[in-house]
């Protein structure tokens, strides 16, 4: 039985209470803090006990009764601060909560803690948090990935069975792969963005982590569906899950050649080779395919996302949110500049500058418009493969296992290229899931399934079948 089903069944049938669940989470959060994981930002035993009482006193417990969820700190919650791991929002408590949080709480779940992240979700290592870097749960010298590294680390460390992160360019799948947990990015428009603090509005997706595929599937089923508060959510009902499947007969799995380059890390290649063998044994037809514009995904992303970030982050000016910078006699413009100059960290400032540059007079056509056209070509690549009879794509999630802290922090381009296999489906809006498929020298390796839009149910059923036959904790190069 998977963690989410186990907890909610136990609470619904009276075998345990939310209060006991909250006490256990409290102990685990204290232990994680003592170990220096630095994955949880805001939480308190009193708040956990209060949330547990709310659930225990309900007559109708709900589908996620008593399930503790760590929530990335760029998703608005009512009772805990929402800082985006940034000094510019230090102490900010939202006056409203995100639609996903409201839906999860209505289903009986509770917010266990706010999770650390790269400031404003900009990063691939969770080293860019204003509140310190997150440690990898299996090797403190390494990064947990990012930007949702705190959420991934909390699930991998067993503190919470599920967590929420956000994806803009792979920020859930990449840390899921690094930490050895499941990370699911839904189709753009499947889940409301209301209350997710905007980074790249045409890319952002609230996305769950879990110990198992079944855990993220149950969370997605609750939080998905049209939201009148977000006009980019599709007019569709919440996701209905498929029956679990024991095999992959009748499915065609595509292997995009561009995701298996000659210089792919040997451990990643070995893990994927083993996974592909299992997929064949499960009865799927496997064929090689091509997504020729893959190589342009990272450059495209680093035009589109910073351009949208520069616009979205203009609202943080010291007037309406957080601390205000500048001398007492500063004029308005100087106050804006001082507040933003001091409030934003290095990576956020860099991306705002890149975004402002590519949108500035004379460059908009050269960079932004062209990037949006290339984005269309990347989406066409996926459409062509899926319309030619491929049901799902199978790829490595990341080119390497988790890297050492500090290895890429001085080289933004090297850091950006860590997302090369997760960026394309973020740009095109396709759903994708990363599952752990092995370890190399103790470090987890993830495989990614990508599906046509709105086919999460098929993708999750296939991912669960693969999960059932791959030993994710086994070394791939003994």
């Amino acid at each position: 039985m998977t963690a989410v089903k186990n907890i909610s069944d136990a609470i619904r049938t009276g075998r345990t209470t939310a209060a006991r669940s909250a006490e256990q989470v409290t102990r685990l959060l204290i232990d994680a803090d003592k170990k220096g994981l630095n994955a949880a930002l805001d939480w308190s035993p009193a708040y956990l006990a209060h949330e547990a009482r709310r659930i225990d006193h309900r007559a109708e417990k709900g589908r996620l009764a008593g399930v503790p969820i760590a929530v990335k700190d760029n998703i608005a919650t009512l009772d805990l601060p929402t800082t985006c791991a940034s000094r510019i929002l230090d102490g900010y408590v939202s006056p409203f909560e995100a639609t996903v949080i409201r839906r999860l709480r209505e289903a009986g779940a509770y917010v266990a803690c706010k999770a650390n992240l790269d400031e404003f979700a900009m990063g691939s290592s969770t080293e860019w948090s204003a509140f310190g870097r997150v440690q990898h749960p299996l090797d403190p010298s390494r990064v947990p990935g990012g930007s949702s590294g705190g959420s991934a680390a909390l699930v991998a460390a067993g503190v919470t069975p599920v967590a929420l992160g956000s994806e803009t360019g792979g920020s859930v799948r990449q840390p899921a792969s690094f930490c050895g947990v499941v990370g699911l990015k839904p189709t753009y428009g499947r889940v409301s963005r209301y209350g997710l603090i905007a980074f790249g509005s045409s890319l952002d997706c609230v996305s769950p982590f879990g110990e198992k595929v079944d855990d993220v599937a149950r969370v997605l089923a609750v939080m998905s569906g049209h939201d009148p508060l977000d006009a980019t959510t599709a007019d569709r009902p919440p996701l209905t899950l498929d029956e679990p499947r024991r095999d992959l007969r009748g499915l065609t799995i595509g292997l995009p050649a561009e995701y298996f380059p000659a210089d792919l890390h040997a451990g990643v290649r070995a893990a994927l080779d083993r996974t592909i063998a299992r997929v064949r044994e499960l009865g799927a037809a496997v064929k090689e395919v091509s997504l020729p514009h893959t190589q342009y995904a990272v450059p495209t992303y680093y035009i589109v996302a910073p351009a949208e970030a520069a616009a979205n982050l203009a609202r943080f000016d010291g007037v309406r949110y957080g601390p205000r910078g500048g001398a007492a006699n500063a004029d308005l413009t100087q106050m804006y500049r001082d507040t933003r100059g001091r409030g934003f960290g290095p990576e956020v400032r860099r991306r705002i500058l890149v975004g402002t540059y590519v949108l500035s007079a004379g460059y908009g056509e050269q960079y932004y418009h062209r990037a949006q056209q290339v984005r269309g070509l990347i989406a066409r690549d996926f459409d062509a493969v899926f319309s030619a009879g491929v049901d799902l794509l199978l790829t490595p999630t990341t080119p390497t296992p988790a890297f050492k802290a500090g290895d890429k922090i001085e080289d933004p381009v090297a850091m950006y290229l860590a997302d090369i296999f997760v960026c394309p489906s973020s740009l095109s809006g396709h759903p994708a899931v990363s599952i752990p498929v092995g370890r190399d020298e103790g470090l987890p390796i993830g495989a990614q399934l990508i599906a046509p839009p709105w086919h999460e149910a098929r993708m999750l059923a296939a991912a669960a079948a693969i999960e059932g036959v791959v030993d994710a904790k086994r070394e791939v190069r003994p």
Binding site: T232, P299, D331, L332, T333, D338, R349, V354
Partner: protein, 100 residues
């Protein structure tokens, strides 16, 4: 494409970001590398008729045109540094009037 400190100060001004001279020097090198990365897109052959990508549903589902603000748990004055009689308080624009 060469990006120098002067360009950084110009962009930082547009973005309302305070940047010191030392920071501008470091940022110039970093932005030059990033712009070098994204400049790869100039090599991509764009077939005719390819427009800008649009994310999400083809047609957004609009809400009824009814003014119904989301009820807030906290009032605006609890979020900001300066608030008086329904207005956010900000310094004056130096270019128009002297600051008090």
């Amino acid at each position: 494409m060469t990006i120098d400190s002067r360009t950084i100060h110009h962009i930082a001004g547009l973005a309302e970001l305070a940047v010191t001279d030392a920071e501008a020097k470091a940022l110039a090198g970093q932005l030059e590398r990033i712009v070098g990365l994204v400049a790869q897109l100039e090599r991509v052959e764009i077939p005719s008729g390819v427009g800008a990508f649009v994310a999400g549903p083809a047609a957004a589902t609009l809400r009824d045109d009814v003014v119904a603000p989301v009820p807030l748990n906290r009032t605006p004055e609890m979020l900001t540094t300066g608030f008086q009689r329904g207005f956010y308080l900000v310094p004056k624009l130096g270019s128009q009037e002297p600051a008090e």
